[in-house]
């Protein structure tokens, strides 16, 4: 095992060397006093953050918009994910299963931000593009998980209902759903939490919310306003983290 380790270390070291060489950066330039003074001026220009009432109102609106984008995007994704999970769990045969899985994989493997850039082209600048972007990506993630949950759900309740003469659709609603619904809800809420964070930054490509405010203020060289937006993002993330930790503890009864 020892020689193998050395080989790996050597390979890694050369990869690192090659990376720096390929980028041929002049990082030393960043350490000159002139560059550092410029950098320092840039950092200082962010302080103090703009806390005027007028701007705080705008920040509040941006925050609400961010939350709305994430909530609506996640809700749509939960619905679409459920619809795609039915064929993806193999209810309607192997072909439908393969096709649905392909669609889900496609939706999932394109990152939210790339979806957002595409949706800005389709729906124009603004929160609607962000909502659609989150909905597409999250549908892929949630749909796959729902499908797996459906596949792993116990078959006995459904069989019992069907053997006593229940229609398949009702057997699904009353035999399978009660077993899988808690997991669906829990997972959708978890994705919502992730999506709030995502919705805050999607705006950098023009998809609304706090990110768009940040992009605008930085483009206009209003660093103090940019600082306020960054602070709002931090507060939002911390609040969401705390709330979700608290909810999790409350719900698991710990």
């Amino acid at each position: 095992m020892r020689p193998m380790h050395w080989a790996v270390i050597a390979a890694l070291a050369s990869a690192v060397w090659a990376s720096f060489a390929y980028l041929s950066l002049d990082l030393g330039h960043l350490l000159t006093t002139e560059a550092q003074a410029l950098m320092w001026n840039y950092v200082v220009s962010f302080f103090p953050p703009d806390l005027s009432g007028e701007y705080l109102v705008q920040i509040g609106q941006g925050t609400l918009e961010t939350i709305a984008i994430s909530a609506v995007g996640t809700a749509l994704a939960a619905v679409f994910g459920m619809l795609l999970a039915l064929p993806a769990s193999g209810r309607y045969g192997t072909v439908a299963r393969a096709v649905a899985r392909l669609v889900l994989n496609f939706l999932r493997s394109i990152p939210e931000l790339v979806w957002a850039a595409l949706m800005v082209i389709a729906a124009g600048l603004g929160p609607f593009a962000g909502t659609l972007a989150l909905a597409w990506h999250t549908t892929g993630v949630i749909g796959r998980l729902f499908a797996e949950t459906l596949e792993n759900a116990p078959a006995e309740p459904v069989q019992a209902l069907q053997l006593s003469g229940c229609r398949p659709s009702l057997a699904f609603l009353y035999g399978t759903m009660p077993n899988v619904l808690p997991q669906f809800v829990a997972y959708s809420l978890y994705r919502w939490e992730i999506n709030i964070r995502m919705a805050a930054i999607l705006g950098v490509v023009g998809a609304g919310g706090l990110g768009q405010m940040l992009y605008f203020s930085l483009s206009l060289f209003h660093q103090q306003q940019a600082m306020t937006v960054i602070l709002a993002m931090l507060v939002l993330v911390v609040l969401v983290d705390t709330a979700s930790a608290w909810l999790r503890r409350a719900m698991t009864g710990g």
């Binding site: 990376s19 390929y22 709305a68």
Partner: protein, 278 residues
């Protein structure tokens, strides 16, 4: 008894509460739809539909001119280089901070001697710095660095260095704390220094986990460096942004394909590395 009552009435006692809950959720989401400017009509607006239709129409065939592919090869290599070099910077940021904030490695913690209070007080700003580095998303760091050092890979490199430095620092320190700290404590209490205690007390047991987390983060860094290109931080993302801006569908679909291949490649490589070093 009507048919509806026969189905929903006596057989399902929880139908009403469930319906009420659904209505409540929709009522709560309703203002959200308005705030998010949800308007499907926009998508079917004739002018918009034309642009998008043309754009999607050009997705196939893929753009395969030799010039473009060469450009893509260059940006793909740049993306990989940003991720790899960025991870090195992240480790330069994260390792010292991790060693610093790890309580089990603190000498002043042992007794009520000199520096006991000072050590505790000094660890706080270090923890705060780690939190700040990782709580600001890497794309925001990228946006800030693009304005500080200009468009190009340097901004992406620094963004990954800072954001991932914060994550590495926190997780490294958690990994070190979660292992068996008794050897370290024993070493410290018999008078060895912090680094000796780390290398002989923690390093042997924690190394596989540290390596595996670092490799996993590298995998994330590859994805992140593509994304960061969208704000001008170099690599494949910057190329994708340019192609999108010019509504060149063929180029966009080619880049998307290469992005997916790159993610699979990073995945495989990281799995392989973790197996080799486990």
């Amino acid at each position: 008894m009507s048919a509806a009552a026969a189905v929903w009435g006596p057989r399902d006692p929880s139908a009403l509460p469930r319906a009420a809950l659904t209505v409540l959720i929709i009522a709560l989401l309703w203002p959200g739809f308005r705030l998010a400017e949800f308007d499907l009509a926009v998508l079917f607006d004739p002018r918009n539909r034309d642009t998008v239709g043309k754009f999607i129409g050009t997705f196939f065939p893929l753009a395969t001119s030799a010039d473009f592919l060469q450009l893509l090869l260059k940006s793909t290599l740049e993306t990989l280089a940003i991720a790899t070099a960025g991870m090195v910077i992240a480790m330069l940021v994260g390792c010292p901070l991790a060693l610093f904030v790890t309580r089990s490695l603190s000498i002043s913690r042992i007794g009520p001697g000199r520096g006991y209070i000072l050590g505790r007080v000094l660890r706080l700003p270090a923890r705060f710095a780690l939190m700040l580095f990782r709580s600001i998303p890497e794309i925001v760091w990228a946006l800030l660095f693009v304005r500080a050092v200009g468009l190009g890979p340097a901004a992406g490199l620094l963004a990954i260095g800072v954001a991932y430095g914060g994550m590495l620092g926190k997780v490294y320190s958690e990994i070190l704390e979660s292992g068996d700290v008794r050897p370290t404590t024993a070493l410290l209490e018999t008078g060895s220094g912090r680094f000796v205690a780390f290398f002989y007390g923690m390093w042997p047991a924690a190394l596989p986990e540290l390596v595996s987390y670092t490799v996993y983060r590298w995998e994330c860094a590859v994805r992140a460096s593509v994304i960061m290109g969208f704000v001008g931080a170099g690599g494949l993302g910057q190329q994708m942004e340019l192609s999108m801006r010019m509504l060149n569908g063929g180029e966009v679909s080619t880049i998307l394909l290469i992005f997916l291949l790159l993610v699979v490649l990073a995945d495989t490589l990281s799995a392989l590395l973790r197996k080799l070093t486990a």
